[in-house]
Symmetry: C2
Amino acid sequence: MENDQATQPNFSVNLPNTGKPKIVIIGGGFGGIELVRKLSHLDAHVILVDKNNHHTFQPLLYQVATAGLEAESIVYPFRKIFQKQKNFIFRMAEVLEIVPEQNNLKTTIGDLAYDYLVIAAGSQSNYFGMKDFKEGALAMKSVPEAVAIRNLILENMEKALLVKNKEDRQALMNIVVIGGGSTGVEMAGALIELKMHVLTKDYPELDIASMQIYVVDMEDRLLRTMTPHASFHAEKFLNNFDVNLWLKTKVVSYDGKVLTLANGKKIFTETVIWAAGVTGALVNGLAAAEIVNGRIKVDPFNKVHGYPNIYAIGDIAGLTTEATPQGHPMLAPVAIQQAKNLGNNFNKIIAQQPLNPFVYKNPGVMATIGRNHAVVDINGLKFHGLFAWLTWLFIHLIALVGFRNRLIVFINWAWNYFSYDRSLRLIMKPPQK
Amino acid sequence: MENDQATQPNFSVNLPNTGKPKIVIIGGGFGGIELVRKLSHLDAHVILVDKNNHHTFQPLLYQVATAGLEAESIVYPFRKIFQKQKNFIFRMAEVLEIVPEQNNLKTTIGDLAYDYLVIAAGSQSNYFGMKDFKEGALAMKSVPEAVAIRNLILENMEKALLVKNKEDRQALMNIVVIGGGSTGVEMAGALIELKMHVLTKDYPELDIASMQIYVVDMEDRLLRTMTPHASFHAEKFLNNFDVNLWLKTKVVSYDGKVLTLANGKKIFTETVIWAAGVTGALVNGLAAAEIVNGRIKVDPFNKVHGYPNIYAIGDIAGLTTEATPQGHPMLAPVAIQQAKNLGNNFNKIIAQQPLNPFVYKNPGVMATIGRNHAVVDINGLKFHGLFAWLTWLFIHLIALVGFRNRLIVFINWAWNYFSYDRSLRLIMKPPQK
């Protein structure tokens, strides 16, 4: 059914024609939904465009991928979030191209005229031009991708029962995580739990102890955006559980079964998870804009260079300052704070008054690495272990959208913790006709 | 990835070769899992073959389809259910053909030899040869199908916003349920709630009041397997909420947009849900077996006619007696009771001793029709309304597999009840590369 909307000529975006300014926001991630909220009192149409009808809480995707959470509990429908916001309009569509000279968006559901445009399209997996991995590795940027990882891990276990050749069996059981940032580390930690507490019991016919989990990264330490203290504890924890850490190591090629590293080593694996980096999910049409490290360059007010009425926030926005020569980190707090600042500025933008520049307040960085273990860097403080882990749980729980989701996630976490189980190990296939 | 196992020649089912009898069960529905459980103390290999790795609680699929429950909460992995049962072996595969003269099953993962075979493959949608509906209507026999219904209803609402033509818009909003049995009635009741309490709030731009829900059935009353008392109350309830009931009415054709009835009326709809009947999910290869109304004829011990070591239980088994000339109803209690009786007989089957025949104890029939309303027929007792509804909720909650699932379903029900909300209105698409 994908995009068959585009083929139906009698479709049009059908927006109200009231003369009020139209503020169009591309993308309902952390930045997009915060901005919609901040604009709730504006006498304008706040139009959110997203290809999904729901917000996705990306920091917990790895738990969906490892059978710890149901997909539904980390997503929330936009129409529900903003049900009471009168000036909110949602359109489910993919943006094909921006036509700035016409103040127009080309989308899969037709043309959409804007007065102000805010690009909050987020990021996408960056394969650094490596075709093998673009085709053969699994990304984890959306719910369907996370479910696909869960399906593949479990399907491969079922297949491992059926092969007599040892190399083939190892390839089906081994899992390689490429990238040792927080996504990679959290994924590896969750895979340890899946292996130790679930797969061992579920597959008595297999020698699960021989299953290998690898983390491969080019840098010389895990969690390179955190302190060396955090890296040390993450590495120690993963080493304790026999995760194979290949640091300062590049991946070279992958044929669907054998992954080759720059040092010549080969890993037999049919499950490769790509957590090695993301880049801005760029939108076509901004010829005058400058692209910095895959992100759209913006000024301190998040305005895109070269366009009077186009803004960008979050992962896709590159705000280079002396303190952030590469732009700010691609993290939810940056997107949310930029959305707040831009939201507060919007009255002034419409009235053409001077704006307040964006100043990032770093709330800290954290990563969970496994049962009872997390690492946290906050304002020069750095701690690890149980208290860090509880901090991580608490922060993520309250950041989820919707009380029902918080409750369901909390129950799942408590359940998984006390039962050492991950009940959601389900292979869900698309319907057949 | 579907069935790519079949193409890999180095796969084999890899079963242990211990000399113990191999009892192979096709299908892990209500009958299949009950039988596995009953055979736990047998000195044999109990081998379950299913195309999914999980049991599906089919009676609640309609709540997944109408955004009331997450898919994961009504399914449960087989390996988890039987983690502690030593003689249990699971193989995820589709059965292609039975070769009775060789005591062999041909499957997508290779040949599987059995000593005893139990067919518990359940039922599939019966389109009575109507190609239009096989292609254009949505069935609701599996989780992916239920999620597909949820996706389609919500996608069509999003599309309805985009069309100017009134007929096109009505077609996108209207929903036709074909079949007025319990599945159709429960679906219609849930659609009323979705329309009244969710869609009205989510789509202020649409005239949701003009959205029509239809139930079409050939019989002269809803819930024809229940008492006229139950039918009366179901019809009254649905009429009160302006559901269009077309009884004694056949469907004739459907072109994806216009559904034509035998009385010549046409309904504009892009959402047609098929709940008009099921037939046995027959397996190839049983040439000597007699097929009765799409089910495999069995004797009172559930043995398939013409084969010494093949049994069938549940929906697929046709056990015709004087009291049940058409076979038993295709309901979970029949499957479970047949599994229990066959399980109790299995020691005697192996020892070639006389068996106990199956006798059905009807525990009652029930259907929920909406908020605070259900109809129940138990042992000549018939009641409806709030108490019947609470009975329905309780029976279904305890019948779910796994305490976690019960807890999550209970919370969802409480949440939906008190908030008048159905939070899970999510369009989940397959991953894109």
